[in-house]
Amino acid sequence: MKIFFSLFILVNFLFAGDATIEVVKKADSLPSLAVEDASISYDDTFKLRFFKSLVADLNVISLFNVDRHHRLVNYDDTNVLVENKDMNYVLRYKMFEDDNRALNIEMKLFNRDEEVFSKRYRVNKKNIYMFISHAMAYDINEFMGEPSVEWMKRKVIFARIVAPKKSEIIIADYTLSYQHVIIKGGLDIFPKWANKAQNAFYYTSLDPLKPTLKYVDIKTAKVKNIISSDGMMVCSDVSEDGKSLLLTMARDGQPDIYLYNTVTKKYKRITTYSGIDVNGQFMGNNKIIFISSRLGYPNVFSKRLDTGVVEQMVYYGKSNSSCSAQGHYIVYEARESSNAFSVNTFNLHLISTKTDFIRRLTATGINEFPRFSKDGDAIIFIKNYKSQSAIGIIRLMHNKNYLFPLKSGKIQSMDW
């Protein structure tokens, strides 16, 4: 019995914090939080829009049961509203326009009628209000002493198809509610951030005779040609230091994965299978994972860069055509039905190279483009369900998925 108990403890220790095992953290014991609006400028529509954005962000940090009632109050009232007197926390904020028409926000957080935290924010234009709402949620998360949600402040870059052979590349916040078109007019696809600072990106232009990888410096708007290939060219991943790229190129019509050095400008072929090898992702310094059709259908494999040993990574799913890696975790997209045109369901699954567990992350609809946050804390993806599209955020350690409705057209590819 003792041995069994020790083993039990040991197993618990080993897998504690493993995201492939579902962790329902403090499910019902989350503290309650209400939000009070004390804005003195702006119309009701804008007030409500900001309130919704803030409530969504506060939900995503997964620390509170957030009350969804929009209640108005005076900023300087000492006590919280009577409706909110039983709440653990109350967040009160005031939006006001200054002489330069900039949007200013003051906020304070009450814990049982006692003010515990306060901060002020300012943006030049009110149409980018969502960045303040993300910053407020980020700061409250920091104040609560939880692991950082730095990814809330990161930007998403994506390409969308606007007409046959016409696309746009767009930079957005993590909920895609702010969207800025950065490239338009041609067929430009597969955008990928070039570095951690997100001040440059790569993309593929299909307008030249040969598909060409380009590099854009966002601040100067200078565009550089990097490399071309007949047939196909995709930048699938950028290494941590930004010096190596995993490209899918198709010299002689054969899609394979290549390692490209941005300093020496030399490339090396990594895969040589005669079918399809795509979607290379760095996994540590010495290993990549990729999608290959070597079993007759797309599936996830790994290859060591030193020994060249190839290993099948996934044994579940009938067609696993897309993956993203972070640390020892892999998230992949699996088609659930083998019938090509029945109601098609594509779900996301998470595996770890250290355990045999598979965790299913989504349950319905077509779920695509899974991308890890840089710290591996969250996964962003696109969900299509009943002719509606949404952007989803999965908080792995909190076992929660959040969806934000998406107004843009069909997304071609995305990076976070």
Partner: protein, 180 residues
Amino acid sequence: MKSIVLSSVVTALLVFSGCSTKEPAVDNKTEEVASPVAQEVEAVTTETVASENSTINSSTNELSMNAIESKLPTIYFDFDKYNIKPEMQEKIDTAAELGKTKAKSFSIKLEGNCDEWGSDEYNFALGLKRANAVKKALVADGIDASRISMVSYGESNPVCTEHTRECWAKNRRVNFKLLP
């Protein structure tokens, strides 16, 4: 076809962090979130390749090129497959015959396409393998490989956008284009 780079986005969210202490304190500094500037910058120069966008001028060469191109077939494929079906082989033979006679002086561009199923990169590779299968068949029929170039458009160039089985079948195809 020109791509325009519109830039200086989100010059990052410049955060001049205010003092945010756990002590109840009125914050006198303000976190500044810079607005994204959208100025229009240089246009990227690209070559014009596609024939449908180029204007038909008086050059008889180009007129005949378009006339021949309209006679070239479209090759269709099965779901998630890139092998040439027997009935499609006949169409390729016809195309190869044209390639050796009337279209002898032109280069051939093969455009691979997919339906909306499957994900980003894999679909592009599938489109390319389809184009490559047609290329191999053309070469077997006696067309010089150096005359043929390929590109995959994945699912970004649909001819049909309804969500039906018939529509998807129309999109799983390889198109022939002629280049001078």
